[in-house]
Amino acid sequence: MEITEIIKDNYTMLNVSGRLDSTTATDFEKALLNLLDLQKENVVCFKELKYISSSGLRVLLVAAKKLSTTGKKLTISAMQDHIKEVFDISGFTELFNILPENPYE
């Protein structure tokens, strides 16, 4: 898994590529939680993400809980179909603001 952070004046973005499983979820969690402190608008781009397990989903849940008391926003964007399917099966599609494309690309 590789993570690229983009920090702008009005938003932050995390581009995540590769495989997000129980080996890599800790690094993703650190990167995401650090970034959430910076801006009101936060985007996770999964365009290059090839695989996600419940360990990756759990990180998003932790982030959503952290944001719920702050009024900040987390958007998940550009998921490939097989990643979106995991979101659908797990019920996560209903929990997050999901966009088919990256709004800042």
Partner: protein
């Protein structure tokens, strides 16, 4: 260290080996002509089962071993996962619904929930010194 036979894989109890586990499922799935989506479902279910063993049955003890065996028949792809850890029945993990997931602090039970959604059958057999988990996917 991995020990791969044709349809059997023994691995050390570490999440570092999960990509090899998924690869092992993929190779066997391709061999019997499963489509990409079905292979992805089985790979994820086996990943979740192994992650659960590593974290819960073995409490991250790297010296322990997990054995994965794949059996295929005309329309069933069966994965048998055995470990020598603490007894853990995935069927006793309560299924989270959306409301529960929202309330959960860490999303506990999510892996088991996904595993059961992705497979057609999940059977658990407690053994004298460990666990046996049987995951079955039907295909045409």
């Amino acid at each position: 260290m991995l020990n791969i036979l044709k349809n059997e894989l023994t691995l050390e109890s570490s999440t570092d080996h999960l990509s090899e586990v998924r690869n092992f499922v993929e190779v066997n799935g391709i061999k019997v002509g499963l489509n990409k989506q079905t292979i992805a479902h089985i790979s994820l279910a086996v990943d979740e089962a192994c992650t659960n063993i590593i974290k819960h049955a073995y409490s991250n003890d790297l010296t322990k071993k997990i054995k994965i065996k794949i059996k295929t028949s005309e329309n069933k792809f069966t994965v048998i996962i055995t470990d020598s850890g603490k007894h853990f029945d995935p069927n006793k993990v309560p299924e989270p619904n959306i409301e529960k997931i929202q309330k959960m602090k860490k999303g506990g039970g999510l892996g088991m929930f996904l595993m059961k959604k992705l497979m057609d059958e999940v059977h658990y057999n407690p053994k004298a010194n460990g666990n046996e988990l049987i995951l079955i996917k039907n295909y045409n």
